[in-house]
């Protein structure tokens, strides 16, 4: 999910630019001159479409659509709007023809830990695992795919690769005024051997069309129209919704509970006492709780009413734990929705 097609107008108008380019690159294979027998395993990228998968981050489809994986978590810091643009700019792609997909959690992307404001500043090198910067890594990813697309065009035209350039989503041989779009080259590029690291040259920074200036927030159009999906918006078939009643005292456990009223709320499937966690409460947000499960099925059959479910949970009157030194018990206040 989370693919996004950038409408040309909004991206360009936000940038104030006439055209965009993207860069592709390779992560794990840049250092080996390995003839490619099959495309690398690339979860999340299209396959079997006759296109060109340069590496786990980039795919070029025959229709020219470039899919770029963002393998770090987007939480509003803008990593989806920056890391893929580094790739696209190095490649020379037109952002209007770029789709960005979020990588699932997968070790194939190396470290996906998204914290410390590190995603652009630092990233482990795909092969050496030494920490370089996401900025450099993503440029290499874009540059490698560019190198392979140029190689494909040069072979087809019988001209040196050094006489070709990639920009505006195509490869150009200016001497003979020939050009081929990335989509047209995709099938050929799929047969090009992965270049050696030394043969992958980054563009001069001045050639990066978008990087170095204000970048548009690519998710903004979806956010401002209510189309962006958050965790709470996901609906799966047969999905149940759990409402949590937390104990009022940190580290405590439920002594007893009476679920009669909660069970009577329409739609409630089950009341579940969560297992008691051991160890410190840090990073154990579900410990020691009672959970009320409510169906969330299509309107024709049932209407969940989380407010009333919370009413049920709130009425459960779970026996509260006794503090370590003894002391009065108190009635649980019920689930978080009731606070």
């Amino acid at each position: 999910m989370s693919t996004i097609v950038i409408p040309r107008r909004s991206f360009l108008s936000a940038l104030g630019l006439a055209a965009g380019t993207l860069a592709l690159g390779i992560g794990s294979e840049a250092s080996a001159a390995t003839p490619r027998m099959a495309p690398p395993k690339a979860p999340g990228l299209p396959s079997g479409d006759g296109g060109f998968t340069a590496n786990v981050f980039v795919h070029v489809a025959p229709d020219g659509t470039v899919t770029i994986v963002c393998a770090r978590v987007e939480m509003g810091q803008g990593v989806r709007s920056s890391l893929p643009v580094l790739v696209a700019d190095e490649l020379g792609a037109d952002m209007a023809k770029v789709k960005i997909v979020q990588g699932d959690g997968d070790t194939i992307y190396n470290d996906q830990n998204t914290d410390g404001s590190r995603s652009v500043r630092t990233a482990p090198d795909a092969v050496t695992k030494l920490v370089t910067s996401g900025y450099d890594e993503m440029r290499k990813v874009g540059a490698t795919a560019r190198t392979m697309l140029i190689a494909a065009a040069a072979t087809k035209w019988g001209v040196p690769a050094s006489a070709c350039e990639a920009h505006d989503h195509a490869v150009f041989h200016s001497a003979t005024k020939r050009s081929l779009g990335f989509g047209e080259l995709a099938a050929l590029a799929a047969k090009v051997p992965v270049p050696k690291a030394k043969d992958v040259v980054l563009r001069p920074k001045s050639e990066l069309r978008h990087v170095g200036g204000p970048l548009p927030l690519l998710d903004a159009p979806d956010i401002v129209t209510g189309r962006a999906l958050y965790g709470a918006d996901v609906r799966l078939p047969g999905m149940l919704i759990a409402v949590i009643a937390r104990p009022p005292v940190l580290g405590s456990k439920v002594e007893r509970y009476d679920a009669t009223r909660a069970q009577a709320v329409p739609g409630v499937k089950k009341i579940v006492a969560m297992p008691v966690p051991s160890g410190p409460p840090a990073f154990q947000p579900l410990g020691g709780k009672i959970s009320t499960l409510v169906t969330n099925s299509p309107p024709a059959s049932f209407r969940p009413n989380l407010d009333r479910c919370a009413s049920g949970a709130g009425s459960m009157r779970a026996g509260a734990p006794r503090p370590a030194g003894g002391g009065p018990t108190e009635t649980s206040r019920g689930c978080t929705l009731a606070t």
């Binding site: 407010d307 919370a310 009413s311 709130g314 929705l337 009731a338």
Partner: protein, 232 residues
């Protein structure tokens, strides 16, 4: 003239603070959920719990009608000076909330018609009744009393003059005031605030009866001295 005993208000800090607070006429709420007990100038009244209102009949022993009238108003003012009421009769542009009368959160503003500002009207959040779980206070036509009807910082004596003044009470006659007190739905909320909030003392019915009895006895206003005495 017999002075009735003044009941102890409890903690020493209360005794220290109360004279100061009496000057500010903020009520005894800051020291706990007490409401001020009126001290009748002429005769002892039966004791009353903070959450209760004396019935009009309890004042029958005050022979002089103006004195009885003033005492009745002082009893009724135990409602008016309660946080449930003063919170929406503020002097400024923000309502207050809770027994400690903190500034309303979210930071809403009065607006040109005492109904909030565009996008943050009172009725954006406050419904016709209080929901059980979300606890946002609810009653029909939730809004602020206009500034001329501000009770915050006022004594019972000042409130009495204000309530009687048609220029400051929305053009109400004394009869209208009784009706408003006894039957208005927003006023009613003060006694059923929900969510564990402390209700105003007594009931709306008794409050209305007190106001009616006050009107019947001439709608006399207590003096400032009587109002201050009543707060101890």
């Amino acid at each position: 003239m017999m002075k009735p005993p003044v009941s102890s208000q409890g903690s020493p800090s209360c005794r220290f603070l109360l004279p100061l607070l009496a000057l500010l006429a903020l009520g005894a709420d800051a020291c706990g959920a007490h409401t001020p007990e009126p001290v009748v100038t002429t005769q002892a009244l039966p004791p009353v719990q903070p959450g209760e209102l004396r019935a009009p009949e309890a004042f029958a022993g005050i022979a002089d009608p103006p004195a009885r009238s003033r005492a009745l108003f002082l009893e009724a003012s135990r409602v008016m000076l309660h946080a449930r009421c003063v919170n929406c009769h503020p002097a400024g542009d923000s309502p207050h909330q809770r027994d400690d009368m903190a500034i309303h959160d979210p930071p809403v503003k009065r607006g040109p018609e005492d109904k909030g500002v565009v996008g943050l009207e009172c009725t954006s959040c406050h419904q016709e009744k209080t929901p059980e779980l979300a606890r946002v206070p609810g009653a029909p036509k939730w809004h602020l009393a206009p500034k001329v009807m501000a009770w915050e910082g006022k004594s019972a004596a000042a409130i009495c003059a204000q309530v009687k003044d048609p220029a400051r009470n929305g053009g109400k006659s004394l009869h209208d005031i009784v009706e408003h007190s006894a039957h208005d739905k927003l006023v009613a909320w003060g006694w059923s605030p929900g969510a564990g909030r402390t209700p105003a003392p007594g009931t709306q019915e008794r409050f209305g009866a007190l106001v009616a009895a006050w009107v019947e006895t001439g709608a006399a206003c207590p003096t400032e001295a009587e109002a201050q005495e009543a707060k101890r």
